[in-house]
Symmetry: D2
Subunit: 354 residues, 4 copies
């Protein structure tokens, strides 16, 4: 190992996930520098960004399995400082971003890929150094800061997959795309759709955010508090034809509106449920009556991430990731979680790792 690599690292762990102690189950400690396996790359992490998923893992609300005492952090950007002897993809000095599903290299998601998420199944990015498989890293877009780049692995790639992941309905110029709110995936979807020449209807519950969404490129913004039947309204805005893509992040109540807005043969990508659950919910028969497709996705593949990074480099003005003005240091992780949990942010909440 190179002489300038320290002997120890700083690291967070999720020490319990029964949800009884809130974010206090997050523990910060000094740990030995990880060994670098033959096919691994040691990365000095510079930044991570937070996702809704990161919050609900310590709260015990995450619906998938996670490893005990896991290092949290789904997203990360850093610099390669050492490589194992079999590594061919990277060399020290390379700037990299982590891939979320470490085993989802290309093609459709497999069970193996689904069980390889950073900060859940596998140790994540909220630490000063990490050893990752060389397969699980992607070159960082050269025009981004580490904090900006750290927003790509989850929020960015999920939005990209939503818009490009189904061969029969990849976003094209002229299509209509609906995004919901100002979470990370939604903002990326808005930006990717506009960069592709599509038209975007964005929803929000806050009149202050209307302008920001328009500045980001939204052609129309609907306030769902003022227009609870925004589904019909959105469809009207498309000339009665409906939306080609809806990025559904909010859950059953929102889904009923999405079904009212979707075009025949359109695709609703099911990303999240931040609006919570309810018993009185639309059922799958509505896919039949609306002749649409609903698709649940888990982030995306490395091949898609490489395509996305290339798009970002080629469109630096349109595709600059939106980072909240408030960033946190690694040791302030709990404050960062609380801030993200409060919903006061706009854009991604990032953690700078020195």
């Amino acid at each position: 190992m190179a002489p300038d690599i320290p002997k120890s690292i700083r690291q967070w762990n999720v020490t319990a996930k029964d949800g009884r102690d809130g974010f206090n189950v997050l523990k910060y400690s000094e740990q030995p520098m990880p060994e670098v396996g033959d096919s691994q790359v040691l990365v000095k992490l510079h930044a991570a960004s937070l996702n809704y998923r990161d919050l609900i893992i310590p709260l015990g609300q995450y619906p998938f399995d996670t490893a005990p005492n896991v290092v949290p952090g789904s997203d990360g950007a850093g610099t390669v400082v050492a490589v194992g002897k079999h590594v061919t993809r990277f060399k020290p000095g390379d700037k990299v971003v982590t891939l979320f599903s470490q085993q989802h290299i290309g093609g459709p998601l497999t069970p193996e890929g689904a069980a390889s998420g950073l900060g859940g199944a596998l140790d994540g990015t909220l630490r000063s150094f990490g050893a990752f498989s060389e397969q699980g890293l992607v070159r960082m877009p050269s025009n981004l800061s580490p904090a900006e780049a750290s927003t790509l692995p989850c929020a960015g790639l999920t939005a990209w997959n939503a818009l490009y992941g189904l061969s029969d309905n990849q976003v094209t110029a002229g299509q209509w795309v609906l995004t919901q709110g100002t979470g990370g995936v939604s903002i990326f979807a808005l930006q990717f759709a506009k960069a592709a020449g599509a038209r975007v209807i964005a929803t929000t519950g806050s009149s202050e955010k209307v302008d920001v969404l328009k500045k980001l490129g939204a052609d129309h913004v609907l306030n769902y508090k003022e227009t609870p039947e925004w589904g019909a309204e959105a469809k009207k805005l498309t000339g009665g034809v409906g939306l080609d893509h809806i990025i559904e992040v909010a859950g059953p109540k929102s889904m009923a509106q999405s079904l009212a807005a979707i075009k025949i043969s359109g695709v609703i990508t099911i990303i999240g449920f931040v609006g919570g659950h309810t018993k009185d919910q639309p059922g799958f028969i509505d896919c039949l009556t609306n002749l649409c497709t609903a698709r649940g996705i888990l982030v995306g593949s490395r091949a898609q991430m490489e395509d996305m990074c290339r798009a970002i480099e080629a469109n630096p003005d349109k595709l600059r990731p939106v980072v909240d003005k408030k960033t946190f240091r690694l040791e302030e992780l709990k404050e960062a979680y609380e801030y993200q949990f409060s919903g006061k942010h706009f854009g991604k909440v990032c953690v700078e790792i020195s």
Copy 2:
């Protein structure tokens, strides 16, 4: 018009759809021979087959618009007897089957295509002669009887679209496909899947039908009355990986099992709801937790129907449509509806039109 074409035809009409008079709203009468437009083809119909949709239109339960006093019948097979002066696709003597969505020629379904269904939006096939757009007919597979061919436009094409309609998950040899019961779509899906080298798990509620399903090629048959948690059982039969395709015809209760059975990245095609509705139903969040796609479809396109007919001709032994042993004459239509409604049939109920 050729001298051997009669001046009048026999025809059924759906005279009301408020559901108050059951199948008695179906009226039979003599009508003048339809005029043949410049781009139309006059077809002497030889057979039609019945679909669940045909039953619920007169009963007032069909969720889409239908034309007043429409001629029922979604499916038909016959012989061209005259063609309009602009017709190029057919000539008298050609054997044809009708296309269900008369305006769905190729590519994804559009609103225009969705509003062009025979026996609903447009006059259908339960009459002795009909004039159809030359665009809305397909050559009959040469190896089928008219009754057999008349099962293709709805049940056959819906199954084909379910298995082949999504580029990213077309059925291939070795995939696992689940079909439900012994309705027309389900039997066709079983046959198409087997002809493609896939493996099929069929469900049924009747122990007598197990053998017939196996004779049709099912690798495994699950009795959902004996195994109410058939979703988990089906997944186990695939080695724990799950089904690539599920043809969902039964509604919410069944859908919960389908979600338990589906593979990551698998596709559940939503075809029907013969098992009825229920409030306590799975919601779209289950697409996310199961990482699958749900797709509502309306039959399919002419391009798909031509592909399907070609497959049937190429595989005459494996892909012979299953027609119930009891057939009806055109004037016995109400009896045919009652018989289909009773659920006593196996395979498609056909009407022979002399």
Copy 3:
């Protein structure tokens, strides 16, 4: 027929195609107003645009069959003035553009679609009025002039199909696209690629055109006279990876360079051969050694044309068709052909039809 529709029309015909009399085989005459079939739409044509194909049909160099004495003109834009009694898609007053392959509605091209080209197999647009199947027309983008719109059916749609016609390699933001010269298809491809967020390398043989191509959005312009090995140079510009899409219009010599420039898994769309033939040409083995795909296309489908028109309406600034500053009247058709043949134009040569 409405009282304001004249009894006669002005019309060009291609009276011979043995090539012995140059463009003099084009004859102009007054003809009776066409009858409007039951499924047809009568269109007052306002503009047509010329294509290379239109030139070589009277010269006897077109490699496909054409009808005797055909009305030339592959492209047209106009206003509906009357509709047949079975027409449902249009009404008088609608602005329309013609579809090139009148029978290519959606899905892959079929022999039937390939044999239905306007101005070749079927009577075209170089006349004051034409009766077209209602299936063979598309709504005109509302923001275009008739001359602009008349460039869409061939040049526009061919470029769109090249970039979007293969599910596995639809143009996305960040991809690299190479276009050749300043013909209609090439300029549209440049514009569509830029509107989709892609990067474009354009080639030209004329140093004066470099600036115009850059103004249209080209990221790089290569002069093939100065850089005969432009294939390697283009590949270098992509960082050594190669082009995702090449729109090949020039023939064997150019194709050798395209093969040197293409990316592994990239697609070269074969559109034309304006650079002429040569015996010493690359062969198909080069698809293997370069691990790429070559795809010959014939314009595109109505579904694709509708998508393209929607893209144009949504991106009025980026996707304005480039029309040559010199336009012609219908009676000046031979001059228009000579002008197009001279190669002095930039953008599409249009014929205004009063």
Copy 4:
């Protein structure tokens, strides 16, 4: 390392590739047992099969780069005997087949994937033991012998990719597929096409092979010596429509016939050139005049190989690999190469490794 693993292995190397000494550049020696990296799997190889590529590497005719002194062998089947500490996909005792392009996991081929072929860029399978990345192995179909399984990585997967690798034209029941001769890829393509319900026209130059090809399922066999214009003849057999898929293995002369036989929108997959080169060859303009696609491929991805292995297990009767009746021992490798070179074999030439 487990006590029963020997200290040394037997191994072939390609000691030169200038082609001056024929197969004598293949050298056999004892070598130390390879170390097993953290992410590697040590495989006791039981069988390998030979490919045209393996022959031309020592002869200096292979058009891609190869590593100096490389261990030959593109294909292999064996048993896992030890795993590195980071390995999760396999455990000792697992039966495996090697993946040809060790870095082509899923999605389209990349430069990285193209440069990772076994027996060329990377050490191959003609040795008693090998250490492979856990990413570069696939579970062996349970119903095959090692020799049978060793035919899958190159010949099998290439055929599978040809038929399934392009989303817009995956082989379906009823399609027409043309295969050429009795090489490994061609026989697999015949078998896969028949298992999928397609129709197959096979060509051969030998009247004795007609019956064998029919026994393998070919619907028609054309002798290209008796019918030099077999392209037109094949098209006629399809009813004049043409072939959906042609697996082109023979080079320019054959390609001219393939172009005559292909359907509009059909795909010719360019696999090889066993018939040699010629200057007078069809050019890419023929993709335009025939409106078809030509696609060069390099074997396929791990995701495709897993799909293929699943298809083989599900269709054990139809998809049994055809192994030549003569097999060789590892030390007889040169004889095996000579035998394969002589062209006297039918089916794959396999090497049994004790």
